[in-house]
């Protein structure tokens, strides 16, 4: 029982952490320059018009009053209305978040798979020239940022060769989106049996996902290689080999012991992809969460920005928690309570 308590506490504390987060971001975001009321009024500014619009947007009153109002709405899962578009922030997320998540999960799943396989080759066949190349690439992990790869990819595969479809988001222009069921574009297309739309979505995802995989797998390969080499050198492995375990069982055990840092990094990458892949989203025309945050900052829309920060932070914290639980299942020594990993 005691062993399970740490994660129950973590789950229970999640709302409290988020509340602290809300208060902090509220202060930070409100301190940003760029008064949305002024932006909205533009040429039409008069003190009267300013006061009227300020009240209209719910921005009148002292900061603490506004904060209390915000939190009260938040408890009812109301993130307010975007100051710029006048739409419900929750509704805007409902439209953007699934697509962003789908893209992130595609990129992450493929990265994980690729890095796993490549690391196997590198570690077990170190003399292979491919291994040397991969090793060099992994060593410089992140030397070529993904936005550079993306621009280069667009120039080569879209502008020059014409292999990639136009970077206009997920669907060709003439194809109507499939009916919204889950909100996840590809999943919806598949559920609707709409082969044309699904094909179009897949073809639009190939280049951006490829770019992300190329950029991220280097980091994961680096971790896998280091972890696998350590795990192979470990006496545990020698014991297993000596005791006549099958090759598959040995490999599995080695991977299991090398996995936790990779899993942790995968979690971090996920957090980064939901909201951090701004540049990619802009280049490929995906109407994603990162773009939303940038637009919100540029227009001084702090209701939208606050909503964004909260949602992304909440998701990240949940993912961090899941990562810890998965790590614990993979390697019971990592269970908090063991001192080094106590949380």
């Amino acid at each position: 029982m005691v062993r399970q308590r740490w994660w129950a506490t973590r789950v229970a504390m999640l709302p409290a952490h988020l509340l602290v987060f809300v208060v902090l971001t509220f202060i930070l975001v409100r301190a940003m320059p760029g008064d949305p009321v002024l932006v909205l009024l533009g040429q039409n500014y008069t003190p009267q018009a300013y006061a009227a619009l300020q009240a209209d947007l719910g921005l009148a009153g002292s900061l603490p009053e506004q904060l209390v109002g915000y939190v009260v709405n938040l408890v009812q899962l109301d993130l307010g209305q975007s100051l710029m578009t006048g739409r419900e922030v929750v509704a805007e997320f409902a439209q953007r978040l699934p697509g962003t998540l789908e893209l992130a999960m595609c990129a992450l799943a493929i990265s994980a798979l690729v890095s796993c396989l490549v690391a196997y080759v590198v570690v077990l066949h170190p003399r292979n020239p491919v291994s040397a190349t991969v090793r060099a690439y992994a060593r410089a992990a992140g030397a070529i940022p993904e936005y550079v790869l993306a621009v280069a990819g667009l120039i080569v595969f879209y502008a020059a060769l014409g292999w990639a479809p136009a970077p206009v988001g997920r669907l060709d222009i003439q194809i109507l989106p499939p009916p919204r069921v889950t909100g996840f574009p590809l999943l919806d297309a598949v559920l609707a049996g709409n082969v044309e739309a699904a094909g179009s979505i897949v073809s639009h995802l190939v280049l951006p996902v490829g770019v992300m995989v190329l950029a991220q797998s280097a980091l994961l390969i680096k971790l896998w290689v280091a972890g696998l080499e350590d795990a192979i050198d470990d006496p545990v492995t020698r014991f297993r080999v000596a005791s006549g375990a099958s090759r598959a069982a040995v490999v599995l055990s080695v991977y299991r012991r090398a996995a936790p840092p990779v899993i942790t990094m995968t979690g971090t990458l996920f957090g980064y992809l939901v909201g951090g892949a701004v540049v990619m989203e802009g280049l490929f025309g995906f109407n994603g969460m990162g773009q939303y945050a940038v637009d919100a900052v540029n227009s001084g829309d702090f209701i939208a920005l606050q909503g964004f920060l909260l949602v992304v932070a909440a998701m990240s914290l949940v993912v961090f928690l899941v990562v810890d639980i998965v790590n614990m299942l993979v390697d019971p020594r990592r269970r908090p309570g063991v001192r080094v990993e106590e949380s």
Partner: protein, 563 residues
């Protein structure tokens, strides 16, 4: 598919210079009929959107910030949305542009009816009576009448609309100026005859859109008595040439031609606005034939596309100004001599050639030089002259180099490029320039709090042709908040008032006063007009009917698919 062709209402095009009096409905150019004959069934190969005849795909930078002009004022997309789905009482007729055979432009000194059939002016020039078209239906199917007109202005003046601010000085209070004569007649009354032309100039632009009263009243609530918020998210509350059929936030908006549009159903039956945030990608999509029209391109890309096979760029004179504003309350620009020195410290030719690839025109004075009876006496031509700048600085008695900071918005890359040019060439002219780049919201806030020294931006003067409008746009009288430079000069306002008092704003008598005002403005030099930027939209070849408008958006109701 035959158009509801109404030849009786569509006289042949030509130099239709009908000044005031009866409005002649020019409608769409006869080319439309030709295009339409060829459009049925045809379409070329499938797959490429550009070849599907009467469907047009436009690459835009974003969806509009809101769909109601009265709620959220600005932005290219919002203006274009208003033009697509809204209609005004009158508009400026389109005529062939002088400088580009493939482009049309507005005849800013003539008007034709849209929702009004005609109008007449009283003997004293104070009352304009509009005879409204009968049998017009809104997008929601409600009939159009005088109540819609009155309701529209009531809403504009009782919401956060920018319409009241930009309708000055002609319209100050619609409740007393706008009257319903009968169900199909309304009249506008102005205080002085000199306000007559400015009145027509302003109600013929997008801020004069007329709304569907019945529809909006259905959706009014106590908190939102004019359904501004409702219309801002739902759209389709007017009488315009297109109906919005699909809105996918942040991705795509679709429109279909409105068969009820009083000037006839447009030739382009369906418009898809696809959001492509990256300007370079928008240009590339057009090059690759994936879209028919790309807008808000970078000047460098448009210049590079000029002369490319399969594409049309347009080189008409515009009112899309690259402006520099100086804040005159604090040093160094509190001294008019220093501001005048800056005028000679800006490398205009360099800006036009390098930043705009030659696709911009020099500017002289603040008013439209094409206006009838325009007087240009004493207006200075743009000139980079470091010696004169240094001389003026010496005269001002300030130590050189004079340091100042240029602020630009990160949303407008050509302004960043201009700032770099100014910085490079200011050194020889006695200035030491810093550049600050801000997000748009912070940039706008600086204007209001007057915490900038010089700010650059590109904007237009939508009622450019109206002298009092253009003169007072940046320097409103007794409105310190809206006057970002804080420059005021009693002689300036006296000259504007004298111009209005001279009767017809376009008369030679008034022109003398407008010139006086311009000279005071020039001496005060709180604003420098650096260039007029040529259209930043590009069409695929074959599309016809591009018109430069003073709101700098595309009127798709006159565009034809072509071959």
């Amino acid at each position: 598919m035959p158009l509801p062709s109404r030849p009786d209402r569509r006289p042949p095009s030509g130099p239709a210079a009908y000044r005031s009096g009866t409005v002649v409905l020019l409608g769409v150019l006869p080319l439309l009929l030709v295009a339409c004959a060829g459009s049925d069934g045809s379409g070329g190969s499938a797959g490429s959107p550009s070849s599907t005849g009467d469907v047009l795909v436009e690459a835009v930078a974003a969806v509009p910030g809101g769909l109601a002009f009265d709620s959220k004022p600005g932005g290219y997309e919002a203006f274009e949305y208003t033009l697509l789905t809204g209609a005004t009482l009158i508009r400026n007729p389109y005529v062939q542009a002088e400088d580009d055979p493939n482009a049309l432009t507005q005849d800013l000194y003539d008007f034709e009816g849209v929702l009004a059939e005609s109008y007449d002016v009283s003997e004293d020039g104070l009352t304009y009576t509009f005879h409204l078209r009968e049998g017009v239906l809104s997008q929601a199917g409600n009939p159009f009448d005088a109540d819609d007109v009155l309701y529209s202005y009531e809403r504009k003046w009782n919401s956060t609309s920018i319409a009241p601010a930009i309708s000055l000085p002609a319209i100050t209070d619609p409740a007393t100026q706008l009257r319903k004569i009968d169900d199909h007649t309304v009249s506008w009354t102005v205080a002085e005859a000199g306000h007559g032309f400015p009145l027509l100039a302003v109600i013929s632009k997008i801020s004069g859109e007329i709304y569907d009263k019945e529809l909006l009243e259905e959706h009014a609530t106590a908190a939102d008595p004019y359904a501004v918020e409702w219309s801002n998210t739902n759209g389709n509350f007017g009488f315009g040439p297109y109906v919005m059929t699909d809105y996918q936030d942040g991705q795509q908006i679709s429109f279909e031609a409105n068969p009820e549009y009083p000037l006839g159903e447009p030739a382009i039956k369906r418009i898809i606005q696809r959001v492509v945030p990256d300007a370079a990608n928008r240009a590339q999509l057009l090059r690759a034939g994936d879209v028919d029209v790309a807008v808000q391109l970078r000047a460098a890309d448009v210049a590079a596309m000029t002369g490319t096979e399969g594409l049309q760029t347009f080189s008409v004179d515009t009112n899309n100004f690259a402006w520099a504003f100086m804040q005159t309350r604090t040093p160094p620009f509190d001294d008019p001599l220093v501001r005048q020195a800056v005028f000679y410290a800006i490398p205009y030719e360099q800006i036009i050639e390098q930043v705009y690839g030659g696709r911009a025109n020099p500017v002289v004075g603040l008013l439209n030089p094409e206006a009838p009876h325009h007087v240009a006496d004493g207006l200075l031509e743009q000139e980079y002259d470091p010696q004169r700048s240094l001389g003026l600085l010496e005269q001002a008695g300030v130590p050189t180099p004079v340091p100042y900071t240029i602020t630009v918005s990160n949303a407008v890359p050509d302004m960043e490029a201009i700032a770099v040019q100014i910085q490079s060439f200011a050194g020889d002219a006695g200035f030491d320039v810093d550049i600050e780049v801000l997000p748009p919201a912070a940039f706008q806030e600086q204007a209001l709090t007057k915490t900038f020294q010089m700010r650059l931006y590109r904007d237009m003067s939508v009622s450019y042709e109206s002298p009092p409008y253009s003169l007072l746009l940046a320097f409103p009288e007794d409105n310190e908040e809206r006057n970002s430079t804080s420059w005021e000069d009693p002689r300036f306002y006296e000259a504007v008032a004298a111009g209005v008092a001279a009767g017809d704003a376009l008369s030679p008598e008034a022109a003398v006063h407008w010139n006086r005002a311009e000279l005071v403005w020039q001496e005060g030099r709180a604003q420098i007009q650096m260039a007029k930027v040529q259209p930043l939209m590009v069409f695929r070849e074959g599309l016809k009917g591009f018109a430069h408008r003073t709101d700098n958006v595309i009127d798709f109701s006159i565009v034809e698919p072509g071959s």
